[in-house]
């Protein structure tokens, strides 16, 4: 597990350094993920420990968003002032976005099956 966690951090570090050196607008962990993905494709799959560590970490992915979410406290003022536009925009755009993505993808899958 320790080796797997070290590997994940090393890829993240490599990603961060890459974005800094090349001045990329993409965050380091995303580059780290792409590098690991390429690495896995070249190696033919993750080791057992890497697989179980990743499963453990991703199994509680939602926990990791809690600290940022509590930050709503720090913006109580702005949110109290603008809660209608913020609330309607969030609910509306989430529903519209979910529908647009799913229906577009379904349409193309069906067109490809027919074609």
């Amino acid at each position: 597990m320790l080796a797997a966690l070290t590997l994940l951090l090393a890829y993240q570090l490599a990603g961060e350094v890459t974005t800094l050196v090349l001045g990329l607008p993409v965050p380091g962990p995303v580059i780290g993920m792409l590098c690991l993905f390429v690495g896995l494709a070249l190696r033919g799959g993750p080791s057992e420990t890497l697989e179980s560590t990743a499963t453990g970490l991703l199994g509680h992915l939602s926990l990791l968003f809690v600290p940022a979410g509590v930050g709503v406290m720090a913006h109580a003022h702005r949110i109290a002032d603008e809660w209608i536009p913020i609330g309607v925009a969030l609910v509306g755009s989430t529903l519209i976005g979910l529908a647009a993505t799913a229906l577009t993808m379904q349409l193309i899958v069906r067109l490809m099956r027919r074609g």
Partner: protein, 243 residues
């Protein structure tokens, strides 16, 4: 005397990162138990419940967010390695990914643009401030990416973090119901839509539904982060909203 003793313990605890860290884990475990007792009902979203519990506690004890975050940042930090770890479920779906390259390649940018610009348009029509609009634009992608974009275009990164988490919770809560209404049954399509619109929180929800939906959600979330980071700042510039 007794009172003063309790007060001293509190002063010690409230200045140590231990409290914020422990509270975060306790609140999440409690919230997760409630979610499980409720039979996995998406309305009892564990992230939303945990946040509500923590805000209640911090407000009652008059603890500032900054003090809490001193401890909670250790959990927050793990978002980085967790993002890297998404490569593994992604790799597992490599075969399926190849066959769906075109549908994902089209639906992903469509969904991202629709979600971002509909959010900005609705908020603008209802009179939101410019800073709020710019903080809202990157709200569909994972928090570290969205915060970086907000900073770049002139929004408020910490407000964006809150909007990102709210969007994720909304997607996780509303997603499966909406897919049912739209008669979208394919797990890979549901997963992609969840990942594009509700990033990691939607992905966490998707993994609770099925490993396939989770993997596609993780894939879509990662690709969305990449595409949004590259294209949203120039698009906002073109629309005249950002410099």
């Amino acid at each position: 005397m007794e009172h003063e003793h309790v007060f001293r313990i509190w002063v010690y605890l409230s200045t140590s990162p231990l409290l914020g860290l422990t509270l975060t884990l306790v609140a999440y475990l409690g919230a997760y138990r409630i979610y499980e007792r409720g039979g996995g009902n998406p309305l009892l979203n564990p992230v939303a419940l945990a946040i509500a519990l923590l805000i209640g506690f911090l407000s009652l004890t008059a603890t500032p967010y900054e003090t809490y975050f001193e401890g909670a940042k250790f959990v927050h930090f793990l978002l980085g390695p967790a993002t890297v770890a998404l490569a593994i479920p992604l790799y597992r779906q490599l075969g399926k990914l190849r066959s769906l390259l075109l549908p994902i390649g089209v639906a992903l940018p469509v969904g991202l643009v629709v979600a971002s610009f509909s959010a900005v348009a609705i908020a603008r029509a209802l009179g939101a401030s410019r800073e709020t609009l710019l903080s809202l634009a990157p709200k569909s992608v994972t928090a570290p990416v969205a915060m970086g974009i907000a900073e770049k275009v002139g929004g408020l990164p910490s407000l964006t973090a809150v909007l990102v988490v709210s969007t994720g919770i909304l997607g996780a809560v509303l997603g499966t119901g909406l897919f049912g209404l739209l008669r979208v049954t394919d797990e890979s399509i549901r997963g992609v839509s969840m990942g594009v619109n509700a990033h990691g929180i939607g992905t966490a929800r998707a993994f609770q539904v099925s490993p396939q939906m989770g993997a596609f959600s993780g894939l879509a979330m990662a690709l969305s982060a990449l595409v949004t980071a590259l294209f949203l700042p120039p698009l906002l510039g073109l629309s005249g909203l950002a410099p």
